[in-house]
Amino acid sequence: MAHHCTRISCLLLVIAAFAAEGHRAATAQTKPYAGTAIRFLAANHPWTEAIKPLLPEFEARTGIKIRLESYGEDQLTQKLTTEFTAGGSDIDAFMQRPLQEARQYVQNKWYTDLNPLVKDPARTPADWSFADFQAGAVGTEMVKGQLTGIPIVVEHEVLYYRKDLLQGAGLSVPKTLDELKAAGQKLSDKGKGKFGFVARGQRSPAVTQFSSFLYSFGGDWFNQETHKATLDTPEAMAAFKFYGAMLREYGPPGVLNMSWPQAVAVFAQGNAGLYTDADSLFPNMLDPGKSQVADKTGVAVFPAGPKGSVMYSVTSWGLAMPASTKKKDAAWEFIKWATSKETTTKTQSVGAVPGARGSVWDSAAGKAKFPADWVAAAQASAKGRSYDRPLVVQVGKARDIIGSVIIASIEGKDVESAAHQANKDFQALLDAEPK
């Protein structure tokens, strides 16, 4: 009979129906976000360069289109501030500098707390492994119990030195700050334009690189329990005086206007023997295409002060999700992918971006693009302090206050009174901080 489906054709129909259902389900699974676009604001950074070629693969897999915009650091701050302040922004993910902005953003409720997303097994498979991230790096991202971002770049302060100059002077690599001072003196010949030591001296940029000196002398910005400023403790003053004296006596002229571009230029030209700054700057000194002393430069752990070798070990950049985004799920997919073991291995091994995943650092691929002594120094520094500036909301103002003491020290002015004044101003700032 015609309207009776024969057993075979029925079966075929059923199979076809199931297959179609299965295919639709499979497509829905592999491209659940087909047609979604994510607006992602990034900074001009090697990480951004490293992630760009990987985006098409992500898009093909999930169907999410990434609209990436990149800006210089300060412009990014300006743009994010403008858009978030004006309200109703359509940014879905952005690169953050947790130490510079996280507290303020938390206060203004501009973040989506990522903790629930990370802990939810339905959203985040266990093998993505949040535990794989270095403890210090995660520490930087935690503000008032919120996970403000996932770390993607970590940074420590290290010592760059000229192997040939030290050898020539019969010195070994400085392991203590006293040895640093002695080496700085021996390598200095200002008349000939050779300087033993160079470091940042500009008001705000200097503060972060001074921090390791402060910590190694046993000082800190303020007591986090009592909220009392500690810029004029004996330890802090010793640190200020040491840093200023190093630059004043063994540093190049014009140090007061030096942020890393100028300091790096002096070193890369071959005119400085020792340089303390972030390890992320290493290409400027170690890349033969950029530096005239590439093959003569070594990297060492930050020297020890009276209270040990305490350098900063921070998350300099993380991936964050704004509170205002309407595409939380898609944005989390992107952030998860961008910070996964797989992707981190690629950005770290190909792009030479120091990531925050312990497992990647342990792998050979993770170390491939970094010089051996750099890796040793970075790994030894991983246990350092998780902040390189005061953990306050008004970071900009705090840095200006502290910077003025550094400048006074470099200029050889009265450090004691400068520190006392700064401490007063800083205390006022702390008192005005929202609780």
């Binding site: 190049p252 014009g254 005005a432």
Partner: protein, 292 residues
């Protein structure tokens, strides 16, 4: 025809109307927004909401040492840059006003300093000015001359920045003056020749007076811009060393985008605006009373 008659009778309103409407519409909201904010204590970093606080910000501003110093520095920088730019600009325009081979190219090349993107120019000068790594001091060292700190010294930073501004904007005065010279009528010159005037007399009694209106306007426009100079200072020193190159514009930018004190920054902006307006009015009124 009737439309044209209407236009003719009302040209003094019809001609400027589009420009006026545009300016008013585009400026109304921003100005109201800023003035309103200046009366609030809004600070993103201190967590204070935009509640009305009256003139508190303005009072604090007048007492703010840093603000007053910024104002002083702004004037110092502006006067220094302007004086040189106007004199040098007119002088070079006179020099270029003659016929010579390649005149067209030269006049166009004079545009280059203005055209280079501010941040690129700032980076170039930053590097050239570097006391030990830069090329300027290197040349001075070779010649046995003293090597100043330029932008790295608290005392030399404003003149060094003014030099960059002079380098960049003198061409603007030059070009406007050249256009002005090109438009000068020939009659007075023929009369001067008939009277037997020397070249010097012609310059001072004929050319310069006739050029004055154009130069004054160019100077006024430059004055406004010089008071508001931002790009090169921000990129080269960020207001440093210390705060010794922090001008009003840098100061307000820092308050807004570094300290996020929008209320306070707005009050600084209002005062800044008043200062620029005041100076502009002064110059333009002086110009009109001096003119015959």
């Amino acid at each position: 025809m009737r439309f044209e008659g209407f236009l003719d009778r009302h040209v003094r309103w019809v001609f400027p109307l589009p420009a006026l409407v545009f300016v008013v519409v585009m400026m109304a909201f921003p100005i109201v927004y800023t003035v309103w904010n200046s009366l609030t204590g809004w600070s993103l970093s201190e967590g204070t909401p935009p509640d009305f606080v009256g003139l508190k910000n303005y009072v604090a501003l007048i007492r703010d040492q840093r603000f007053l110093l910024a104002a002083a520095r702004t004037f110092y920088f502006t006067v220094l840059a302007m004086a040189v730019e106007v004199v040098l600009g007119v002088a070079i325009a006179l020099l270029l006003n003659r016929d010579f081979p390649g005149k067209r190219i030269v006049n166009s090349i004079m545009l280059l300093p203005m055209m280079a993107t501010p941040v690129a120019i700032a980076m170039v000068w930053l590097f050239m000015y570097e006391p030990s790594a830069g090329v300027i001091n290197h040349v001075l060292r070779v010649l046995g001359l003293p090597t100043p700190l330029w932008i790295a010294g608290a005392d030399s930073v404003i003149p060094a920045l003014a030099l960059v501004d002079i380098w960049q904007w003198t061409p603007m005065i030059v070009l406007i003056s050249l256009a002005g010279l090109a438009g000068l009528p020939a009659d007075p010159y023929e009369a001067a020749e008939v009277d037997g005037a020397t070249a010097w007399q012609t310059l001072w009694r004929v050319t310069i007076p006739m050029l004055m209106p154009t130069v004054t306007i160019a100077a006024l426009l430059r004055l406004i811009d010089a008071l508001k100079t931002f790009d090169i200072i921000y990129a080269m020193t960020g207001g440093g060393p210390g705060f010794s190159s922090e001008t009003l514009n840098i100061y307000t930018y820092n308050q807004a985008f570094s300290y996020f004190s929008f209320g306070y920054a707005s009050s600084a902006l209002v005062v800044f605006f008043a200062i620029v307006l005041g100076v502009s009015l002064l110059v333009s009124v002086t110009r009109r009373t001096v003119e015959v």
